[in-house]
């Protein structure tokens, strides 16, 4: 997994609540057996009209969103299906950070396994970012996982909480399985206790 330490990047604003994983990656694209190549299908039914033409009105198709690496949305982002394809699609499309006031649990988990950093920020901070973004289409943010801050490089900065274990793994690009296998003795002992217990 690609480590994440800090990133300065353009911001795409998505002023929507309850964005579900069926929208992030519609089911017709879940049939592939690979982990890669899902970016082209991200938000497919919103990005493209039924005839396949580009829907200019959709947030990610607007000029200021092009090349964005930070996605900002509203409450309960990623609700619904457990499909990790949602995280794969966002990552493959080019996003590394998602900022929202709240996330659905399974999606939130899946992001960390794929070098994608979901950050929960207070409504006030999210509203500030939306207001800044509306004023300045070239608006950029810096996300620093080491310092646990989001800032606009000038006057505004906000801290964020992140689970220490997830932070460590993401900073170092560590894969969970490798770490867990170091607990082989504990797992075997547990299995033995259950067998005899």
């Amino acid at each position: 997994m690609e480590p994440f330490v800090r990133l300065t990047g353009k911001v795409a604003l998505m002023d929507r609540v309850n964005v579900d994983t069926d929208q992030i990656i519609p089911k017709q694209f879940l049939k592939r057996i690979e982990r890669t190549g899902f970016g082209q299908y991200l938000f497919y039914d919103w990005r493209f009209r039924e005839d396949g033409s580009v829907n200019e009105a959709f947030e990610l198709n607007q000029p200021q969103s092009q090349g964005a690496t930070i996605l900002v949305a509203k409450h309960n982002f990623g609700c619904g299906s457990s499909r990790e394809h949602a995280a794969w699609a966002l990552g493959d499309y080019g996003f590394r950070v998602i900022l929202a006031p709240s996330f659905a649990d399974i999606f939130f988990n899946n992001c960390f396994k794929n070098g994608l950093l979901p950050i929960t920020l207070p409504d006030r901070a999210i509203d500030h970012i939306f207001a800044q973004g509306a004023r300045d289409s070239a608006f950029e943010l810096t996300v620093d996982l080491e310092a646990q801050t989001v800032s606009d490089g000038a006057l505004w900065q906000v801290g964020f909480e992140v689970d220490p274990r997830r932070r460590y793994n993401l900073l170092n690009g560590l894969d969970d399985i490798g770490i867990t296998l170091q607990y082989e003795a504990e797992i075997s002992a547990y299995e033995e206790r259950r067998r005899t217990g």
Binding site: N18, D22, P26, I33, C79, S81, R83, D105, N110, I187
Partner: protein, 474 residues
Amino acid sequence: MRPKTLFEKIWDRHVVVSQDDGNALIFIDLHLVHEVTSPQAFEGLRINNRQVRRPDLTFATMDHNVPTDNPFHVTDEIAGKQIETLAANCKDFGIELADLNSANQGIVHVIGPELGLTQPGKTIVCGDSHTSTHGAFGALAFGIGTSEVEHVLATQCLWQKRPKTCEVRLVGKRAPGVTAKDVILGVIAQNGIDFGTGHVVEFTGDAVRSMSMEERMTVCNMAIEGGARAGMVAPDEVTFAYLQGRERAPQGEQFDEAVTEWQALCSDEGAVYDKVVTFDVSLLDPQVTWGTNPGMGISVNGRVPDPDSFATETERRAARQALAYMGLEPGMPITDITVQNVFIGSCTNSRLEDLRAAAQVARGRKVAAGVRALVVPGSKQVKEQAEREGLDRVFLDAGFEWRATGCSMCLAMNPDFVPPGERCASTSNRNFEGRQGRAARTHLVSPAMAAAAAIAGHFVDVRELGREAAAASV
């Protein structure tokens, strides 16, 4: 000793490693696998030259992609490849697979309980959010992503941050015609689609005690639609009676021993939940969703809400977007909404009792002109039992299609989908945009309400349909 909740008892028993930061490595007793969320996990094992640690605790089936007209005739090449890939992976890694030839094949959340694999006190995971279904047995069951599927395959464990607990107290007595589906839709409409985020929900109270196992499964199945990490019901005599004699449940003396152990699986008197929600089922009517998330539900006797009636601008905008997508006007009576499609099936409502309830409505009636109605049993066992009871004839005589088993039109990954712009009265769990097909409009209802809509051609209070028929026969 400090009183514990049901969740805490199961959690504590499964901790393999506990860390100071609140994370724990927990042991998984049952890992269910299906074709859509597993291929990349097996690929990961191969790349790293890893094995499946406990094939004996892993069980696979194919359900999401499978065609329900002829399951062996997979017209979608990519879907076919996914089905073949699961079979090859199970063979290579020594995992038991209920494939299309197996008498046990079906929707993963239907067959787990049916085979008796799902048992009280177990930790159960699957790469599917509706794994919460299995919590109906007093198991800790939750959905995971593909990376976690790979992790469980390799280690039989998962790193988890201990979730919070939420009690949903279901009080009162349901009116006749009001089902478990209406109860869970009502709970979510009242509390929102993220009230359970970060929490394991335990359903308590007389209204859940009086439910059958299949009803409890419907309730726990949709706990995820309230954002919950898992849904649970403490096991009782209803649970034990359901499990006794099931193929993979303990047998004979071992069953009695297991029951003794299972009886301790309840929240202790005085146990404290992080959050408590109370819901009175006695006031509930049959529910119909009008919008694009499962929380946008209302009584069948209500009207489409006015977006301006919502408290915040965000909610008002979400409601306006939902009505635009759904093609509905504020103030319109729900019973004026016509449907072109009816889907009775999915891991929420495809079990025997669901099919019986729908058949009772369909019996001796006809599907309205211009309505396509599908009945998709949740498993081969359900299908066979339904056929022994003659339910297939009831449906076919009424003009419903009687299909082979699978997830089908719940998420339309197979060829069963709702055409653009058309409506569907669906017994499934999600009414998200495009869920049942691009531009498809989904209304979530109970099996009886879906059957009633098929007959009437529009939504109707299933209790009224009974009265109309009774009046006509006088």
